[in-house]
Amino acid sequence: MSSVATPAPVPRRGRRRRRTKLQRRQTRFAWLLLVPALAVVAFVAIYPLGRTVYQSFTDQEFLAGITPTKWVGLDNYHQLIHDTIFRDTVVLTIKFTAITVSIEFLLGLTIALVVNSHFKGRGIMRAIMLVPWAIPTVVAAKMWLWMLDDTYGVINDLFVRTHLISHNQSWIVQHPLVAVSAVDIWKTAPFVALLLLAGMQVIPNDLYEAASVDGANQLQQFWRITLPLLRPAILVALIFRTLDALRVFDVFQVFFGYRLGSQSMAVYNQSVITQDGHVGYGSAVSVAIFLIISLFVVIYVTVVRVSDE
């Protein structure tokens, strides 16, 4: 994307020496404009990241001062490998990611295909789809927690009425993964649909017209035109959703608090740091999560590269 050349805003003609001087001045000015942004990024992102890595090699506690923090080498990482609670959170989070990302993608694609046709009220429809995304996840989680209530919940009522279930379920206790996934899917499937819709709208209509002149039916058009041309949008949506799902915190924390066995990676990490005050060990957990997420990025990029060739 940086290959898009920006026209220099200064008059381009002039003697060569003056131009280079001007260019140098411009470069200096541009960096000057970037100073505040780079300072902020260095201070709120790069330094903390480095510090997290450093802390992960120490036994730092939140109530420092009682015992001085010391360097413990790889001790935290040794402990992490044998930490079965952490292992469970990794498994649970990956399960959650697999469930939500695949359903959100399929549901989002279906919704996008429906909304992509011309009809009155398409603008309103798009606005409606944006609303679940715009509200805080905590609020969405509370709304669903009440809807999933075991006695007075509307989900139980609807499912019992339609005979999908025979009696009221305690969703939070019996089907925790289904319950959190339902909130996430509700909140983001319409959003995925909007991303895909944006991709669909740049596909030129001529292609479909040409295809239908050639006798291709709707299904063939979908497989041969829509899906291949939508590939970039699909990839972006999938990558962003996967990264988001892997660092999920809000829904899990609101639904289960810090209940053992129902923690996502981020909930566990946050509780180690802020509830238990084990800043050193918690930083090692952070680094592990960071590596797990990076691993997924690498896998995605490799898959894309390989299938491109």
Partner: protein, 313 residues
């Protein structure tokens, strides 16, 4: 989209039953019926939780906690709204969130538009490096630096006597840490807006003797005003909705932001045995109304900003 082709074909060929059905107004409506059912289903799916929150907020407790449940309240009441708004920490949370999200948005736009000016309108070495740095920041997992931020805001020595102020349990901690996800995003989107502007206006201003800063302030900034609204709104929503840092760095209820307040809500109407769901639902309606209004009004702009942020990556 194939109707034109079929209409011309139909004049030469004997008209088949399906084509006849497709041509009559009633038939067309019937064929469109499954489509409209799908549209309605999608809308109901997206909106039902809001309806349910509203219905629960205006249903009196005596009716709310009975089975079989009612889908429409027979005696609607505002009591839960009064109860929610009478909680002082909930009102405080609304104010706190406005302060935090407002400050974060203003800071991000100020710092971000300067950076976007450099990245979008100048050619210099290291530009693509800065752009990719910002892009990688936008997908940065916030949890990864929680440990370090926690140490930093608890007050620590930077170098020798230089001290970072203790920000724990203050709104400054949030304003500071929220910049990590609003600023890179703001820079990324505003740069794409800056880049899309034609060079002529700028050149004319330079010929008239304007300085680069004047060009920025008087020519470019007014032109990317729609971009500022879009990114500002997205940054505001992101900061307004943030929960992880808010629940980690804030302790006293008087400093709660909206998500923390909602998550820990316990109104006064509930008794010891029943959680005050009616009041909680009233509170959720109160905090979502401004967001819903903003999204409905600025839907097109938000989508433009989101796709600029996502698809162009």
């Amino acid at each position: 989209m194939s109707t034109a082709a079929e209409a011309t074909r139909a004049t030469v060929r004997p008209v088949s039953r399906s084509v006849r059905l497709r041509r009559s107004p009633l038939g067309r409506a019937l064929l469109r019926l499954p489509f409209w059912l799908l549209i309605v289903a999608i809308a109901v799916y997206a909106l039902f939780p809001f309806y349910w929150a509203l219905r629960s907020a205006i249903t009196p407790d005596s009716e709310l906690f009975t089975t079989p449940i009612t889908y429409f309240p027979s005696h609607p009441t505002w009591a839960h709204f009064h109860d929610a708004l009478s909680q002082s920490y909930f009102r405080r949370a609304l104010l706190n969130s406005t302060i935090v999200a407002g400050s974060v948005t203003a800071l991000s736009l100020a710092v971000g538009s300067l950076a976007a000016y450099a990245l979008g309108r100048f050619r210099f070495r290291g530009k693509s490096f800065v752009l990719y740095l910002m892009l990688s920041m936008t997908i940065f997992p916030q949890i990864a630096i929680l440990g370090a931020l926690y140490t930093m805001i608890s007050g620590f020595h930077i170098v020798g006597p230089v001290h970072f102020p203790k920000l724990y349990d203050s709104l400054f901690a949030l304003i500071f840490s929220y910049l990590i996800f609003t600023l890179p995003f703001t820079i990324w989107v505003l740069t794409s807006f800056m880049r899309a502007l034609p060079a002529d206006l700028e050149e004319a201003a330079y010929v008239d003797g304007a300085t680069p800063l004047q060009v920025f302030w008087k020519v470019l900034l007014p032109l990317i005003a729609p971009g500022l609204v879009t990114t500002g709104l997205l940054a505001f929503i992101a900061a307004w909705n943030e929960y992880l840092y808010a629940v980690s760095f804030i302790q006293s209820p008087s400093h709660y932001t909206v998500p923390v307040a909602i998550a820990t809500f316990s109104g006064s109407s509930g008794n010891a045995f029943q959680f005050p769901w009616g009041t909680v639902m009233a509170a959720t309606i109160i905090v979502t109304l401004p967001l819903i209004a903003a999204t409905l009004l600025l839907q097109r702009r938000i989508l433009a900003g989101l796709t600029a942020g996502a698809v162009k990556g």
